[in-house]
């Protein structure tokens, strides 16, 4: 029952399902969630945090006894993906914060994901072990070596069931290919290659090869004083393995075709919304910087997020977006203070639902917004412990922009700008969403009748 399929007239009612994490008075920085991603079936949900750790949740099998508990997510595996480093040659401190996690499609019993910090991408294998060999000849069950002179019989070890153990092992480390800070990774639809993008360059990797990568985009100017824009996000087309897009700090998107040349410095398409130069202010460029770009599942559209809006672009129309949604336009009159407290540089992400009919992005005060592209209706919801009774329906929230504030509205000046929803994820085929609120992960589902 996906919004957009069938019942267009029926609004989806979102309910609280689960919350992970603790209620701390002060948030430990390491616990701040920095990325959230469902795998391709939605069975697994991964989070990365500032402390370099990855936690993977698995959806439990639905039980006929408890149909209203539609598959809760429980911890499946957790591991330390990246550690802090110091590059002594460049006097550069390298954070262990996980910038992005991307899953590979499942091809065997094991699960594979890519996780990256600012400099290094790692391929992790997550696999289950539920049997172990018992009855070794040369060592006892504790692993201690037996005295060979005491062994009088020979036996064949047999595999016996054991408690399920989930192991995560780093299978590949893709290092030393980025001078600048990695902001995106994207798995190609060929499942053999992937790209990593930093502020000025994009590299193409083969999963099997860690000591080489191809540079496919390089926008570094010969003279750094001439630098005017940086790459902010990049993604491969979901079906065409030769096509990818990257967004810039100037609010533009370039679509590139790897068949045309080895170095894709010349774009095949250039998406930019025209702006009247007389309308520019000091803030124009900063708020136009695109913080996220995502292809629709269909591959026909791209969605971009800048500071105040989400835009949907048709790949066939470069001169303007086909849809623009205001996320929190009331912040326009607060840009001065948002610049002073650096919030204007916050990088919000955006996501599509499985049918590409609804888009979602975060805001401040732990609010997040959904826009239905068909009905043109939008809703503001809140991730908060106050609305965390099981299956409690989330009440739409409203920000009062002046004039008389109604009882359940909140005024712009009361918004908590330290509570930012930067990262969200939408299950690939169901109405289940994961919302990262600083150090807590909320899971919401649509109401089951």
């Amino acid at each position: 029952s996906l919004a957009g399929f069938g019942n267009l007239m029926q609004d989806v009612l979102w309910c609280f399902s689960q919350v992970k994490g603790t209620i701390d008075i002060g948030v430990t920085e390491a616990d701040i969630i920095s990325t959230v991603e469902f795998n391709h079936t939605g069975e697994l949900l991964a989070t990365g945090d500032k402390g370099g750790r990855v936690v993977i949740f698995q959806r439990e099998q639905e039980s006929k006894n408890q149909p209203h508990r539609r598959g809760e997510y429980n911890v499946y595996s957790t591991f330390q993906s990246h550690e802090p480093e110091f590059d002594y040659l460049k006097s550069l401190e390298i954070e262990e914060k996980i910038n992005k996690i991307r899953w590979l499609p499942q091809q065997n019993a094991a699960y594979f994901l890519l996780s990256t910090n600012d400099k290094t991408v790692k391929l992790w294998k997550v696999s289950e072990r539920d049997k172990r060999p018992e009855g070794y000849n040369l060592k006892d069950e504790d692993g201690r070596l037996r005295d060979p002179s005491m062994i009088t019989t020979l036996r064949v070890p047999v595999l016996r069931p054991m408690d399920l153990m989930v192991e995560a092992t780093p299978r590949r480390v893709f290092a030393n290919a980025h001078t600048y800070h990695i902001n995106s990774i994207s798995v190609n639809s060929d499942y053999e290659t992937y790209m990593s993008a930093d502020d000025l360059r994009i590299n193409l990797w083969h999963f099997e090869i860690t000591n080489q990568s191809f540079n496919i985009v390089d926008i570094k100017p010969a003279n750094m004083e001439e630098l005017t824009e940086v790459i902010t996000a990049a993604e491969f087309h979901p079906h065409h393995c030769n096509t990818f897009v990257y967004s810039s700090s100037k609010g533009t998107i370039r679509l590139c075709d790897m068949r045309t040349s080895a170095l894709c410095d010349r774009h095949a398409k250039f998406f930019e919304e025209p702006e009247d130069p007389s309308n520019r202010s000091f803030f124009s460029e900063i708020i136009s910087s695109i913080s996220d770009v995502k292809f629709s599942h269909s591959g026909r559209y791209i969605m971009t997020r800048d500071y105040l809006t989400v835009k949907v672009w048709d790949l066939n129309m470069e001169n303007r977006p086909i849809e623009t949604y205001q996320v929190h336009d009331y912040l326009r009159s607060k840009l001065c203070s948002l610049y002073e407290n650096d919030c204007i540089f916050d990088k919000f992400e955006c996501v599509w639902n499985g049918s590409d009919s609804v888009i979602m992005t975060g805001s401040y005060n732990n609010f997040f917004r959904m826009f239905d592209r068909n009905t043109k209706r939008d809703v503001t919801l809140e991730a908060s412990r106050e609305n965390s009774k099981p299956r409690a329906i989330l009440k739409p929230r409203k920000v009062c922009v002046g004039g008389k504030r109604r009882k359940d509205e909140i005024s712009v000046d009361s918004l908590d700008f330290s509570k930012k929803i930067l990262h969200t994820a939408w299950h690939p085929s169901e109405n289940i969403i994961a919302v990262a609120a600083t150090n807590n992960l909320y899971i919401f589902q649509d109401k089951v009748n």
Binding site: D31, S91, F283, I286
Partner: protein, 117 residues
Amino acid sequence: MAALLGTGTRAEETEQEKQDVQEKEAVTLERAEEAKLKAKYPNLGQKPGGSDFLMKRLQKGQKYFDSGDYNMAKAKMKNKQLPSAGPDKNLVTGDHIPTPQDLPQRKSSLVTSKLAG
């Protein structure tokens, strides 16, 4: 396009007008905020707000330490203590020579994530 003038529907025209009005309002708000900012920081560069933050973004994580300066300063001071960094350890200016003690201790978090609790 000239041939189409006058054939557009009234609805389309008012939609475009509405958009223009919204844009003008937005610009007015932004300019007011810009004036506020410039009143607080008169030395704010004439460049648009973009360029400074681009360079800051590229230099993220950069720590400055010169072993030559450090050793010479140590020699000069002989047995006296080197001035340590003030409250803002990231601000390295003037006579202050960064010391190894200034580098924040980076230890990996061996603690399991609380999400897995």
